[in-house]
């Protein structure tokens, strides 16, 4: 069956399938039956016949043909494949066209067609150069930032580096070609060609700096990735040593832990419990009690216990917000006991609160053994923030 080559027909088919093209561009492929159900008025079979859409009979799915996808990717600036050799081909073609032009001029033949072709080819070069620069730049950034696999990332970055060198060489060849053929182009004296030549000459400097920048960027990406690669290698080695039980023998990790400043461990505020150990503060407490003139009665060993040991007393929950109390204490200048008295803490619990704060936050306080203060005829130990 012959295929109609009328452009109007192809445009009509594309228009009828525009929603499908849009969907396929977004999702890469869609189930054939669902698409046909949703877009009944579209000329899907014709679109397949004109290679606008492809049908995958293995998965029963529709997808954009590579030509259509390339077309939209290029228009949208999403193309990720370079075509540097294409520029080189155009340059070679230009050289041939120049020779043909000369022959025609020598033979006094009409050369208008040649001039048109020369112009067309020359005019394509700036956009091709720009396109390739954009693709290489975006590919290198994408590879560096988004490629999850390290080995593939390095391959992609090296490809980008080779491509930018190749593009830079091609651009130099174009510059050289224009310089070499300067007199020739002058002899043609065609406004359009002159304008493209000027454009290429003007772009030459901009391109050179763009090449340098991209080259530098890719070099940095590669260097950074090499460092990442070394880190990945190191982590693998550390894990191996750990699972073999040789981590502490074959590394300095223990020494490093000792010398590096680590984030402090979580500090849990304790509640006052009946069995709290106050041994560390027993001398100080006795001194305070002595000054408070409270008689210490020695408990005889044989004395019967005057409370029921089976009677469970419910534990009282935290009496004071110790972290807050501590914060408030640190923010002022008074000694601890004066501060606690000013907080209107219940007298019976004052000593307990005092001991608790000392215990919880002893690293932050400074206690001098012989330093006592007198408040309302009572003597207390002086405790200050360190």
């Amino acid at each position: 069956m012959t295929i109609t080559t009328n452009v109007t027909d192809i445009i009509a088919i594309q228009n009828s399938c525009k929603d499908i093209i849009q969907e396929l561009y977004t999702y890469e492929s869609r189930p054939n039956n669902i698409i046909r159900l949703n877009y009944k008025n579209s000329k899907i079979d014709e679109a397949i016949r004109f290679d606008i859409i492809e049908y995958d009979n293995y998965d029963d799915e529709l997808l954009l043909s590579s030509d259509t996808e390339d077309y939209y990717k290029t228009r949208l600036g999403q193309q990720d494949e370079t075509n540097i050799s294409f520029i080189g081909d155009k340059l070679e073609k230009l050289k041939t066209l120049l020779q043909t032009y000369n022959i025609r001029i020598k033979n006094n033949e009409n050369s208008d067609k040649n001039i048109k072709q020369i112009y067309k080819l020359l005019n394509q070069i700036p956009s091709l150069l720009r396109y390739n620069i954009q693709v290489i730049s975006s590919n290198s950034v994408f590879a560096f930032k988004n490629e999850p696999n390290f080995d593939i990332k390095m391959i992609k970055l090296n490809v980008c580096q080779d491509e930018i060198t190749q593009l830079s060489d091609t651009s130099s060849k174009i510059d050289f070609f224009i310089k070499e053929q300067k007199l020739f182009f002058k002899s043609i004296d065609n406004n359009k060609i002159n304008s493209v030549i000027l454009k290429l000459q003007r772009n030459s400097l901009i391109l050179e700096s763009a090449f340098r920048k991209i080259h530098e960027d890719i070099k940095n990406f590669i260097n950074q990735s090499i460092k990442d690669g070394e880190f990945i290698k190191k982590l693998k080695k550390l894990q191996e040593l750990k699972s073999d039980g040789n981590l502490y023998i074959n590394t300095n990790i223990e020494e490093l832990v000792k010398i590096k400043p680590h984030i402090g461990q979580t500090i849990k505020e304790k509640k006052i419990l009946r069995d709290d150990r106050v041994f560390d503060f027993i001398d100080d407490i006795q001194t305070i009690i002595k000054f408070r003139k409270i008689k210490i009665i020695d408990i005889k060993k044989d004395k019967s216990i005057d409370y029921d040991i089976n009677k469970k007393e419910p534990l009282k929950k935290v009496l004071y917000n110790y972290p807050k109390l501590n914060c408030d204490f640190l923010l002022q200048d008074k000694d601890l006991i004066t501060f606690l008295k000013l907080q209107n803490i219940e007298k019976a619990r004052l000593l307990g609160t005092f001991v608790r704060m000392i215990k919880n936050f002893s690293s932050k306080y400074n206690m001098e053994n012989d330093s006592f203060i007198q408040i309302e005829n009572r003597i207390y130990k002086k405790v200050l923030a360190k």
Partner: protein, 184 residues
Amino acid sequence: MLINVNELVPQYISKIYDAILKSNFINENSNKNGYAELYRVISENEVEIRAYFKPLGYTLIKRVGYFYFARDDAPDNQSNLETIVDYIDIVNFLKIMDSNFTVDYPFVLSSMENQLNNNIELQEQISKMRGINATNNREFIQKIIDKLKKSGFVEERNALNGEFIVLKSYDYLETFFKEVDIYE
């Protein structure tokens, strides 16, 4: 040194103290607990805050994009060592999963699970990580991320779709492992 307490913006002192007690990093890229604001306040009053907390036994440590407080008194080296050694497997696993997994890296739990389902190297890795017991890949990923979240290395950005971001403090782990010397 004289410290002007008024200049220290006292309302932030208790927040900083709270961060110290909870052993939290103060991250520039955190969206929670007002830590980004706290990061700004500490950056602007770094000298005063350092001088204020130093006598209390805490040294302010400044790193790129985050602060933390280290205790000056005898540190629990054994506990610190165990904690850091635990992370070797996790940091390695995440780097194998995506070599770009580092500070500021955004990720989604379901996408991580997909990667794990389709990557044999990662699945082999799981068998080497004895500290994390999970019945399936989803639970495994969830446990790793929960651990990182609890320690203040990642933060949930969207609970609905499981979106997370790696906080600046993740550098704490990476820097440590980079500095370890291996004797061949």
